[in-house]
Amino acid sequence: LNAAPGRPPRQQIRFLPAPGGGGAVELVAARVPVLADHPLVRGPRFRKLKIGAGHRLDVKASGVFVLGIGHGNKLLTDRYNCHLTKVYTVGGRFGKATDDFSDTGNLVEKTTFDHITREKLERILAVIQGTNQKALLMYSNIDMKTQEAYELAVKGLIRPMGKSPPIITAVRCLQFALPEFQLEIHCLHETQQYLRKMVHEIGLELKSSAVCTQVRRIRDGVFTVDDALPRTQWNLQSIQEAIRNCQLKVETELEKTL
């Protein structure tokens, strides 16, 4: 960043003695760069960068992680107040139960799972969606008796705009091949450990046990996996280009929600 050409030094008008012979000393106005702006005086333009992080991502999870740089940190609080849903791909495996709900924990129990079918799993997912839908309406703190509550409910725009426990707005089974399965979960105010716990609870409901093998965030508000920079592209040019591309999207997102 420091290698990039900085802004040109400020110019000032000073009255300097004209180069010339002796005799009367005349003052000639000349445009001269201000010494205080000289790079050797000022030092490198960037010494520290303020980087802020968006919604937390676990050590064991992967996926889209939003960062704000410099002035972008102000947008981070606005994005937090938007309360938009995040989408995760959660992979699970039947047959085992561990103490921290992931496949690297200490084994608690092993169970059979050959009685599980995709239909049973989808039934459980429907119930989860139903109870979370109720929680969504309850934590949004809107009086259910008003006409506007009814209209928002019809459009599906009721959402908790303050603090709330984790709420799942939609779940879908993407793949099902015993013992592995994969779910797509849209949620609000969640932590990755909560998603792992949910996989464990799904296993319990199906009268077996399950551990979570993978948690990957594929969407955080408007940022999807396509916008995100992979490890190989963590350099200045890609970052600058990505910021430029996303600026418009972030602005529209914030305007629409707030």
């Binding site: 092993k110 169970t111 059979t112 009685h115 049973k120 139903g130 209209e151």
Partner: protein
């Protein structure tokens, strides 16, 4: 213990071996069946919920529970295939061939649950039945006949069997039991259960209104008996009818596939998707065809909302379900479209997004609709139950005491197969996961 081996955190290989050697538990085998359960909720002091400890606590620390605001599981001996809620009492029927096929609980002041012999005095009967008690039906072949359906009105009940006609019991002061009205008859503690067999073909559905009864036969004809002052018998007059009589009017010659009633208005659906109505119209239920407040002849209701699959008639509001799975409401009261819609004569559709339909799950459809006196219930094809309407004594089952102005999910641990709505309580048949 091997003294030469150092103790320490178990290595990966040891962990893996321990894991492989761990015992495998089996909680459900491949042949695990889904169990059928019954859930009840609402006002319990009449005994209609069938849980005696709500009314008379059996342990010292328990307090009487006046209202059960959320679904509570009711233990039954057999699988219940049909249930009906009346005004303070409930009937549960099973499809079995055993001798006991019907159980009743709740108010029994008019013997709507048959004669329930008291333990102390063999001649007297219970006036409040707190537990599901068997109702003795005078069947000719008790080990072969099956009970298909039950229905309850204000103070009378009907039991439909497959080969022995319809049994009626309870209050008969308006002839709603299908037998001649006896002056000054004492209904409490009565042993009389009347049997009705004279219809043009086998009866396939029985429906009780508040003080009248409707019978639908296999041929598609409808019979009615009972109170007619609001025209709810549909026979062309406003008098009492004590013998089931065939209805004419706009439904003569039409094959009716479903009849519904709960208060004083009645709806019938034909096989072609048309809906006919008769009875009370004070709340604009039939205002689309007539200005009068009582209609005593079935009239066709010309709604252009598509082919109608099912209809449900409440006290002041009506509900129909079309073939596409859309729900339409009209009438008076809390209709389900927010607090601003109080009454309408023309059916209004309830947006499917309120029943869980969204871009994410576009194949959710409403499968059945049911009505209580001022509540409505809808069952989706995913087995979810949505209720809305006036929350009289906690009958909606949402856990709150407030009225519900738009469809709200009831959390039941299982897939809801059927629901019966009453005045202040509801019964649902649920299949467990």
């Amino acid at each position: 213990r091997g003294l030469g081996v150092a103790a320490g955190p178990p290595s990966t290989r040891q962990l893996r071996e321990a894991e492989e050697g761990a015992p495998v538990f089996q909680y459900a085998g491949k042949a695990a069946r889904r169990k059928d359960r019954v859930f009840v909720w609402g006002f319990s002091y009449s005994g209609a919920l069938g849980v005696p400890s709500f009314v008379k606590p059996d342990a010292g620390w328990k307090k009487p529970r006046r209202i059960q605001p959320t679904p509570y599981r009711l233990e039954t001996e057999e699988k219940i295939s049909s249930a009906a809620c009346g005004y303070g009492f409930t009937l549960l029927a099973s499809n079995t061939r055993d001798i006991t096929k019907v159980w009743g609980m709740g108010l029994n002041k008019d013997s709507q649950l048959g004669f329930q012999r008291t333990r102390r005095d063999q001649t007297k009967g219970y006036e409040y039945v707190l537990e599901p008690s068997p109702i003795p039906l005078p069947l000719e072949k008790p080990q072969q006949t099956r009970v298909l359906q039950v229905s309850c009105g204000r103070a009378h009940s009907l039991v439909l069997t497959d080969s022995e006609g319809v049994f009626t019991m309870g209050n008969n002061s308006y002839g709603q039991c299908g037998r001649k009205v006896v002056e000054d008859e004492i209904y409490s503690g009565s042993h009389l259960i009347h049997q009705l067999k004279e219809f043009d073909s086998r009866v396939v559905q029985v429906v009780c209104g508040q003080d009248h009864s409707l019978f639908r036969t296999k041929k598609g004809t409808v019979y009615a008996c009972g109170w007619g002052a609001d025209g709810q018998t549909g026979l062309g007059h406003y008098n009492i009818t004590s013998v089931p009589t065939k209805l004419h009017g706009d439904i003569a010659g039409v094959n009716i596939v479903q009849v519904s009633s709960y208060g004083d208005c009645c709806l019938a659906v034909s096989d072609e998707g048309d809906v006919f109505g008769w009875g009370n119209s004070e709340y604009l239920q039939l205002a689309s065809v007539t200005e009068t407040t009582q209609v005593n002849v079935p009239r066709h209701l010309p709604f252009k909302i598509g082919k109608i699959k099912e209809a449900a008639c409440g006290g002041t509001g009506n509900l129909v379900l079309t073939e596409e799975g859309n729900v339409f409401v009209w009438g008076y009261g809390i209709l389900g479209k927010g607090p601003n819609l109080i009454e309408t004569a023309v059916p209004e559709m309830i947006p499917p997004s309120l029943f869980g339909w969204s871009d994410f799950s576009p194949d959710i459809r409403v499968a059945h609709v049911r009505c209580g006196l001022s509540q409505f219930a809808a069952l989706t094809n995913r087995g979810e139950l949505f209720v809305w309407g006036k929350n009289l004594r906690g009958c909606l089952g949402t856990g709150r005491m407030e009225d519900q102005y738009f469809p709200w999910r009831v959390t039941v641990p299982g897939e809801v197969v059927d629901v019966a709505c009453g005045i202040d309580h509801m019964v649902s048949m649920v299949s467990s996961f």
